[in-house]
Amino acid sequence: MKFWREPLDVDQIKVTQGVVTVLEERCKGCEFCISYCSRGVLVMSQKFNRKGYHFPEVIEPKLCVNCHFCEVICPEFAIFSQEAPEAANPGASAGQGD
């Protein structure tokens, strides 16, 4: 992320790490979550679910910042994110990402 002015407390800010869960059987493949994920975490899977739809797949789990946008935009209630447990999240710090 680029700032027009470097925040003074940039070294203290912790970027939250999220974990995305996809409930594959509920998905109808509308691609809303994939298109509107601001971090590019998701991609369309090649696999089908029981109803014959492709569903999203997490390809960049480290980039997720737990913004919950996939969760609120999903019309099928098929995807949600939650904060990663501390143990699985040791390297989360400022300046992560591009």
Binding site: T21, L23, E31, F32, V72, P75, F77, A78, Q82, A87
Partner: protein, 299 residues
């Protein structure tokens, strides 16, 4: 991945608490905007921290009308167009509860148009959420009062010859106390608007502009729901507190969204209680001059 998931606090969707999960997946098409509006409504209900027992959700017929069947609250699926009439009765019978009417444009403002304007006139204390997808989606995409001029539907294959309704302007002119319009992609603002509408005393109206790829988009050569969602969002302009009459739905860069009305007005129940207590003066308030009336009669 599975080992990591085991350490996570939950494996259930956060909205599952308010969903009748045994009925999910719902009947709405892939990419339908109703699901987003429904999710916003559930988020707003959760955020409001009002006890669940105090809510009642009423819906009519149509795609959005199915919403009442999926929410795990007291809910009613009423006859076509009569959602507001039913909700009025519900509110009068149990005035302490919160009544939410969630229905589509065809149900609320085509067949149910008169119920809508009179509920707004009386300022019935309810929250009305109208999911506007610009056509009658469930019956095959016929012309609706909201269909934009020139848009193709099943019954207008050459394009709609009618001027569409401006629902927000109608609600405001009939006396609604809260009027807002957002597209389905303004999710956070929509959730805030619904939460505000829930807390508002009086007739509060939230219009959600939602994509309908199957019936509306397909006939207008926008088959992907994503493109419809983007079309509505990219042409939207946020203008809060402008005159609702100027809040046009113009798909050429001027689809006005925002909160248009937020006023206080006594509700029907306030007036009704005042009448029953005998606190209202005889009409007309200035009284009638009996001697003058007698003279006119004599002359």
């Amino acid at each position: 991945m599975s080992a990591q998931q085991a350490t996570l606090p939950q494996a259930e969707h956060p909205q599952d608490a308010l969903l009748r999960t045994e009925r999910i997946p719902h009947i709405w098409c892939a990419g339908c905007g109703i699901g987003i509006a429904f999710g916003s409504l559930m988020s707003a209900i959760t955020k409001s921290e009002i006890p669940r027992d105090d809510f009642a959700v009423v819906s009519g017929i149509g795609c959005t009308g199915r919403l009442a069947g999926y929410i795990h609250l007291d809910s009613f699926h009423t006859t076509h167009g009569r959602a507001i009439a039913f909700a009025t009765g519900l509110k009068l019978a149990r005035p302490q509860g919160k009544v939410i009417v969630a229905s589509g444009d065809g149900d609320l403002l085509a067949i149910g148009g008169n119920h809508f304007i009179h509920a707004a006139r009386r300022n019935m204390d309810m929250t009305v959420i109208c999911v506007n997808n610009f056509n009658y989606g469930m019956t095959g995409g016929q012309l609706a009062p909201s269909t934009p001029y020139g848009a193709k539907t099943t019954t207008t294959p050459q394009g709609s010859p009618d001027e569409p309704f401006n629902f927000c302007s109608l609600a405001a002119s009939c006396g609604a106390t809260y009027v807002a319009r957002w597209t389905a992609l303004h999710i956070r603002r929509l959730t805030t608007a619904i939460a505000e509408a829930l807390n508002k005393k009086g007739f509060s109206f939230v219009e959600v502009i939602a994509p309908c790829p199957t019936a509306f988009g397909r006939r207008n050569k926008i088959r992907r729901s994503l493109d419809l969602l983007k079309l509505y969002y990219d042409n939207s302009v946020v203008k809060n507190h402008i005159a609702p009459g100027e809040a046009t739905i113009d798909f050429d860069n001027n689809l006005v969204v925002g909160k248009f009305v937020d006023v206080e007005r006594p509700t029907f129940l306030d007036h009704y209680a005042a009448i029953n207590r005998g606190e209202v003066e005889a009409w007309p308030a200035t009284g009638v001059d009996a001697s003058a009336a007698g003279k006119r009669k004599a002359g």
